[in-house]
Structure formats: C-alpha cells, structure tokens
Symmetry: C2
Amino acid sequence: MVARRVTSLDVAKAAGVSRTTVSLVLNEVQGIQISESTRHRVIDAAHELEYVPNAAARALVSSRAQLIGLVLTRSTHHIASDSFLTQILDGLIENVHAHGMRLLIDIIEPEHQKEAYLELVRSKHIDGIILSGPRMDDEALQALTDDGFPTVLMGQVPGKNYYCVDVDNLAASQMAVSHLVGLGHKRIACITNAPLTYTAAAERLAGYRKALEDAHIPYDESLVRYGDFSLSSGYKQMYNLYESGTCFTAAFVASDEVAMGATAAVREHGLSVPKDLAMVGFDDLPLAYYMDPPLTTVHLPAIDLARQAIDMLIRILKGKHLTKKQRILDTYLVVRQSCGTQLKGGMA
Amino acid sequence: MVARRVTSLDVAKAAGVSRTTVSLVLNEVQGIQISESTRHRVIDAAHELEYVPNAAARALVSSRAQLIGLVLTRSTHHIASDSFLTQILDGLIENVHAHGMRLLIDIIEPEHQKEAYLELVRSKHIDGIILSGPRMDDEALQALTDDGFPTVLMGQVPGKNYYCVDVDNLAASQMAVSHLVGLGHKRIACITNAPLTYTAAAERLAGYRKALEDAHIPYDESLVRYGDFSLSSGYKQMYNLYESGTCFTAAFVASDEVAMGATAAVREHGLSVPKDLAMVGFDDLPLAYYMDPPLTTVHLPAIDLARQAIDMLIRILKGKHLTKKQRILDTYLVVRQSCGTQLKGGMA
DNA sequence: TTGTAAGCGTTATCAC
DNA sequence: GTGATAACGCTTACAA
C-alpha cells in the first residue's frame, strides 16, 4: 500500500507557510532571511512527514539531475574481471555522496558510442561524465567536449586537452622496466594490459620501449603481446610467448590481473617466478600482495584518482575556474618478491 | 557552447504536427492509428534534430525514472576488493539496457540505512531496487517492501518472503564440505566469506555444519573463523588458525577472494595446498582457475543471477503476476587441484 | 520575511 | 487521426 506522496505543499500546509518558504528553508538558500521560528516549523514538518523532494521535478526545473555518470567504454565482458573498477567505484561513490549526488553507471560499447553518449547527455539524465579508460578512437568524446558537456577522463588521450585525472603511465612503466633492467635483465617480455586503442595500454607500452632505449636494449617485437584486461588473456599471451620459443628472463605485465594469469602459464611450463622469470605488474591490486610470489608492481592510487576525478567534475559543474585541466598523480614501484635478485651472469 | 535543447515542440514544428503526435509516434503508443506519412515525418524530424526526450520531464509526468538502483549494503571499503561485484555488474547493466533502463549504483552503510533507503525511494530517483548481499539486521528493508516498493534481493533473508534471486548457499556449502569429507578429512576448518550478519555468510556456515553433521563429525568452534570479503581477512584468519595451534587438514573458505588470502597464509607457514591442506572455495571467480594450485570451488552463476534479478524486477514493475517470489539457481562444485587426492591414513 | 505565479518538458485526457 | 489543455512537483523571479 503505497501512501500518497508527500509533496512540498503538504509540508507547507503542515508548517502553515507557502511552498516557497519550504523550498527556501530546505535548500538553505543563501542571502535570504528567514525567521528561526518558521525555519524550525518547516524543518520539523518536513521531518515529521518524512518529506523527500521529488528528484525528477527538481531536476526538471533546476536542470541539474544530481547524478554523475560513470561511463565505461569497454565491451561488457571485459568489465567482469576488472578489479581496478571496484577500487575506483568505491572512491567514486563515496565522494559523489559527499556532494549530495549519486552515481549512474553505464557501459558504452565502441560500436554505439555516438548515440549512447548523445542520449545520456541530451536526456539530461546526468550532469557530468566520468569516463574511465578512454580510447584513442573515441570520436564521440570529442563531440561531447566540444558541446561543453562536463566531462572528466580517468586516463588521457594524447594530443587532446581534455579534463583528466591520471597517472603518468609512461613514466611509471619506464620505472618498472628499468627496475628489471637494473637487475641485469636484457630480454624482457611485455604483455600489455589491453589493446593499444586504450590510451593507457599504449602509454605503458611506450614506457617499456623508453626504458629499453635508455638501456640501449633493442626493441624486439617478438617479445611483446597484447592482453585484454582479463586473467585469461594474461595466461594465453604468456603461454604463447613460451610456445613461440623466444628467450626472455623477465616480463613486464601492464596489469596485475593479467600478470596473475600470466603467472599460471609460467607455472604450467614447469617454470617459476622469480627463479626462471622476473615479473613486474601494474596497478597494485590487493591481489598482488597475496600472489605467489608477491608481485612487484606499480602502485596506482585508485581511491585518490577517483576522489580527484569527482572533485574536478564538481568544480566544473560549479563553474569554478580550473587552473589545470589535467591532474597527474604519483605512482611508485612496490618491490616485492617477483623479481628475485640480481640476475647471475650474462644471458642472451 | 551548449546549443539550446531540442524539445518535442521543436520536433512537432519541424514535422508540422502537435506535440501530442510527436509523443504518440516516438513512444510507439499502442491502439492508436497514425498515418504512415505523419509517422515518418515525425521520426525523420526527430532524427534530424537529434531529439532526445528530457529524462526528468518524462520521469516527472510518468513517474517512472527508467532507472534501477543497485544498492550495496556494505561499508565502502569492503566493496573495493569484491570481484563478485564486477561480475554481477556486468550482467546487470547489460540486462537493464535491454529494457531501456539504466543503472544507478549506491552504497548504503549500515548506520544510515533507514534514511538512505527512504531518500532513494521517496525521491523517486529510481523505479526499483536490486539489493545485493542483504543483512539479517536490515530493518529498513522490511519497511521498504511493506511500502510496496519494487525490490529484489540478490540473496535471501531467512524467514522473510521477499522477492529474491539466489543460490542455495546452504546446500552448496554442504556439497563443498562433503567433498572434503569424502576425501577423508575430519578436521576441516572454515573461514566465512563475511560476518554472519550477512545472510549468505550465515547460510554457508550452516552448510558447513550440516555436512559435518551428516558425516557425524562434531562441530568444533575452534576451527571456525570469520572473513570480511577481503583477501586480507582470509590471510589473517588462516594465519590465526595456524597460530591457534588447532590441527586441521582441510579448509572450506566461503569466498574465492578470501581463499586467495588464506592460501598466502598457508604458504607463509611453510605449508602448501593441497599437500598439507586441502582447500575449497566459493564463487568460482576467474581468479580461482589461475590460482596455484587451481582452486576447487563452488560455481556461482553470477551473470545469470544478475539476469534473473533484472527480469524479476522488470516483471514486478510491469505489474505482472509472479508465481514464485524466489528464484533459486543451481550451483555445482568445480573440482580443480586444491584438494589433492584421498587423504592417506586416519588423522586426528 | 513570506506569498503568488510562471514555467521546466513531458505525458495523458479529452474533444474535434 | 490529430490537436488543445491540464497535470506532474519543484524552483525562482517578483510582488506584497
């Protein structure tokens, strides 16, 4: 039995005032004087009646839905095994709440990008977008920002000046691979976290190349494989690397999840980390710490990334001027046991 | 530069009809005759102008927000490492889309339950709720359903007749533990997936007890520990189990993530799975397959659970009669290598 | 300090 | 078949 909705008019009647006053009091409108007594009467009445403003009506008139859209540009089966997502989700929800807003989550598959963005934005369902894992080939994104729609990327698109929160993927990967180089490794394989259309994947690969270059190690395409976020892709690619007969003593796997899958393939070949293969991951998921051996990996400040993204978006929504359109957070290498010690002797 | 919103009036003008007609055509209202030519003019005009109906206006007048709320009743740091969540998220979003709706995701912390539900529901922000991981002590939930608000649980609350989609946690755990018993284990430890206020945790523990009972093995409290969703809790509890000096040859860990953490503690004590400890998990996350050794675990049909939950909720929203308020999906044991073979010899 | 009234963009109920 | 017109519940000039 659904009771009739309580509207602001009910509150107004109960408090013996007009709807205007109710609105003024409840929204704590600044620059308006309301006597303590009326204010109290209104608040008490609202409380008494368990009044909650109708979101749709409010959104319609104020054209603010109080909703932030988290958009994932991934085909849906890729998110199923994305632990990084839960980490940022956590941070996102918490911070969205702090601003009295809520989070709508949506997947936009590459094929339907254009219409999907359009509908989300034009329908005014949401006030702003947080776009996770942008892709190079996302044309609709450009249209979105051209339109002036409040958008913050978690990640970057090279050559574009979008609002974004990110880490320096290139430098971070470079640091990770240099760690391997420093241990004496010369044949270092690489498995990306995702296809290179995802900017983060491309940058991490670039960091790998940069580190090799710095160490005067020639880049060898046969040592590179492409993951797709999932554990299984890590397994397959590492398996494939071994089957290919290429020789390597270390691997940089640009995602902890993918690294976990890769480790299984190493084991399956009767080898072990770090004895036969030094491995460095990326993300520093809780998982990494509990792997066998604990994975040396690049720490990504997931919660902070989320917090900053929301903060930036809220500022944009409030029309505040932002001095910097990009916020780059720090990463660091967490050295655990997956790289062993200095590599003994030279090795092809 | 945000262009002025295109409204249905613009479309009406462009097509040379009234707003009513536009609405009729675009919403494909049944039982109304509209000439092919007008219909086409309207559709073309809408397409031309890239018209997208305003969600708030539509929600206001139709009192349907076209939004499903996924509510997590967990303190926020617990969701950060919940891989199961990403799995259902995947299924949820996909199926919600199939019905032209979207997903709002929210965390409701135990302390603020009452008000949080109330606000979500009364504000009419969402049309229905999918509640993941219900807790025994959720009083607000009762109020919600009493109110007739469309609610579907992913999980159950014993003794309550809520709409729900779930697996038979008790039977599944019983099956898992019986597997261990069948291998000759008598001292079987248990680490729950979560505190017992979460119904699934309580049921899984009950299944453990039932299996012991069936095998005439006395229940020993000193073999039981309580996890809290996280890898780290698994680690801590297993560590604690060893430190306590209790003797056990097998462990039922009611969550793969917790099991992964627990495995690390086993290793840290210089022992290994399955040689020194047989282990069975629960959930069958992708993770389980890539663990060392691959984890024997109870398969939970995550995607299907999500699909059924949405399906049920949509039916409720459409006012269709449901013959059964609960849908219980099948689980099965996935036997991998974490239990080894028959336990040799009797053991205390 | 508070009330009146207009309007947000739809859908839905009527007439025509 | 199609078009006025009235809600939906709220915010916000503007008036009192």
